[in-house]
């Protein structure tokens, strides 16, 4: 795993970024109230990064193992398509690729735990958060400096966007206006 500090040519090919939810958009905590209702802690800065990738034309999606209204609520606010209750994340990725006409070679997946292992193994740019479970860190090509729920999503978006913008600039292509 490399904490990339220079533009990575591999990132310029990314057309689809898929995220796990808990531990990626959140700090992997769940707040449980007396009536059993749950809350999660997300990061306000993630929206700016996701918008930046959208303006560059990338596809975005969330695949979550758990079925939970907090996932729906947060993804709706961030305007992210979201699959929940996924026991087999790789199968969901394949559905996604079919629907979008894209493949693993242009996909980046950001995860944090052992239930992300198959998805990480399947994509061109497997990425994990700074505080990922030790068993999945070796599966990643890229590890964010920020922890889940503390800017990891934003950091990955910023890196991919910067790489694509730099590449389009070199090629003289039109770069969508970034922030």
């Amino acid at each position: 795993v490399t904490r990339l500090t220079e533009p990575d040519p591999g990132l310029t090919h990314v057309k689809l970024v898929v995220f796990d939810f808990d531990g990626v958009f959140t700090d992997n905590a769940v707040y449980v109230a007396q009536d059993g209702t749950e809350s999660v802690r997300c990061w306000r800065g993630d929206g700016i990064g996701l918008d930046r990738l959208r303006r560059l034309g990338l596809e975005l999606a969330v695949i979550s193992t758990e079925v939970n209204p907090v996932v729906s609520a947060r993804c709706a606010k961030l305007r992210l398509p979201c699959v929940q209750g996924s026991a087999d994340k790789l199968a969901e990725l394949q559905v996604l690729w079919e629907r979008l006409g894209l493949g693993p070679d242009v996909t980046c997946y950001l995860g944090n735990d052992v239930n992300d292992a198959q998805a990480l193994d399947a994509v061109a740019v497997p990425a994990v958060v700074a505080d990922a479970h030790p068993e999945v860190v070796p599966l990643a090509r890229l590890q964010t400096a920020a922890a889940g729920g503390h800017g990891a999503v934003r950091e990955l978006c910023d890196r991919i966007a910067s790489a694509i913008e730099a590449d389009r600039d070199v090629r003289g292509e039109d770069v969508a206006l970034a922030h």
Copy 2:
């Protein structure tokens, strides 16, 4: 207290893991709202570790001093049997041993504060979280690197599961599929 980095033969005998709740499943904080209702902060990753021990056939239980709906809510979600309002945790352990036909020699107890002292003294594998009260740390044989509510439960489950799996592997026994 040893922060074990190598497989511990003592862990291979564990058949029952008992957990305190506050400070173990949580970071020992309680969120108090204006109407007095409470919430606690738990760790999403704990469920994967508990499932791994269940697949290996281990018994799991929670014993909590306080009676609180947040404990019931969280334990229900994690499918953990749970005793609350326990002034005498050792007495609850004895009830548990009677019911399961198990004893202190195959029991691991994970605690964090002075009200866990008697339970820690009574079991073969007394364990405490990284941020346990200084008075109970010397009672433990094992201290997790992770703090309560930040992966301590998951870490203990992973250690015990890895020890049992490695031991069964050596003996040529069937190892239940781990994650």
Copy 3:
């Protein structure tokens, strides 16, 4: 300010411990919901420390600048008498001393910010939390190693209780059973 590591003879005279609320029982954060209702983050371990001082016969009280139902809720659970909406904490201390027949010479006050300055100046054992505002740290005789809402109350209670127990032991007096 000394971070005391040895028993302090000054602590053995304490008969009354008074606490500020925000930044002492909490981490000085307030959680604000969309409807404006507030929550605060407290520390489960504080109750054990307060009970220990009660068993030794000490008086306990909370004086808070703000009027807030979360303060009432938390203090009710910890069975702590609580004065709220206090613009002049020193005046409240004097009311308290009058009522209890005690004085500044046997009082310890734990605070965290500039609105605690007068109270800190008035008592025999002025104490502040690890993350107190820099302006009040020089007013304290004792600073906890733990931050507010992360065990500061428990730590102060444990120190005072240990000092009193050690002193009574030396004098051959009956020491109330500590935890």
Copy 4:
């Protein structure tokens, strides 16, 4: 960017302090409940700093990109005028200057992310929090040692107040009573 440790003569001219909300009054987290309602984590100590600036006669305001009831709730409690849903913070600053008869030369702006860049560029005292996005740090003349939601607002208020008080003292002017 300088982390100022000595009085800064530039701060003595400040007559208006404008704050971003998320990541400045908060730690940039948002707590999302199952029903989609949101909460944010603010800092109790900020109120004392804002009151100190008010007593010195300064104008205060909040400009937030997002429209959110939590912003209204917190600003109402802190008695801060607040503009929400601002896509163009610089335009809002200009409205504010017009209304107050003040200009950029006497304005301090505290922000944390790229959507604060234009506002930071426009004022005499651009300031960012300790954990600001790396892209905006170079735009600031002052960076707080405290992170957003962990005392950054209080720290900026204390610095400006101390500078103005010291300056008025030198000039023999009446200094409004500070805390």
